[in-house]
Symmetry: C2
Subunit: 143 residues, 2 copies
Amino acid sequence: MFTDEYYMKMALQQAQIAFEKEEVPIGCVIVSNDRILAKTHNLTETLNDVTAHAEMQAITSAANYLGGKYLQNCTMYVTLEPCVMCSGALIWSQISKVVIGARDEQRGFINKHLNLHPKTEIVVGVMEHECSVIVKEFFKNKR
Amino acid sequence: MFTDEYYMKMALQQAQIAFEKEEVPIGCVIVSNDRILAKTHNLTETLNDVTAHAEMQAITSAANYLGGKYLQNCTMYVTLEPCVMCSGALIWSQISKVVIGARDEQRGFINKHLNLHPKTEIVVGVMEHECSVIVKEFFKNKR
């Protein structure tokens, strides 16, 4: 039951909440041993803060929940490939696994030849279509 | 009077406050038209949060002060070269100028072949010696 798709669907629900707030629709969930530590969505417009990406909030929130800054035994589900900033935060967090929905060829960390922490497993393409469509839909409406 | 050295000294005072809290001693100041918008220091240990670098707090704080997320006409003074995470945040902020004290060859963004925003001017090496010594002193005490 608690598959990667299960948690990515939850991250997508967060992206949908962002969409309704006119935020770029990206959602994120952090899970440890099937316990949900954080559910977040992008809030850069609402908070007037470029650092308020879903992933940044999730890292802070999960660390707060755990009472420690390292996210060992944690998995992040994120609907869009993290940017340079968020990949840097993920490196510092030493998170165990990152599951990515859709690629972001232009802004994502992969094409910048950045790596996450050596301990971090990366999975790409879980519910890729749905994760990609919501972002495309958002920018289509903006034009 | 309001030279780069003047503001870097202020950033160094912030690094000193971090040192006294047993935080990696890095300090940061953001200035716009000789108005100080933010003075921050690294708080990753105190807040149990890998994202609580001096630069991240300063970007959030300055944007809050300005009531907008872009840091146009702003200069950041930071005692140590920003990491991947902080350089990513600086890109999003479109800040006008970043003045760096000492290089961080291992963790800094420059050796990762990352660029800041095309609009951002970068100055490296203001009070380099003092900015470097405080970090070395900190890690010497830790061993």
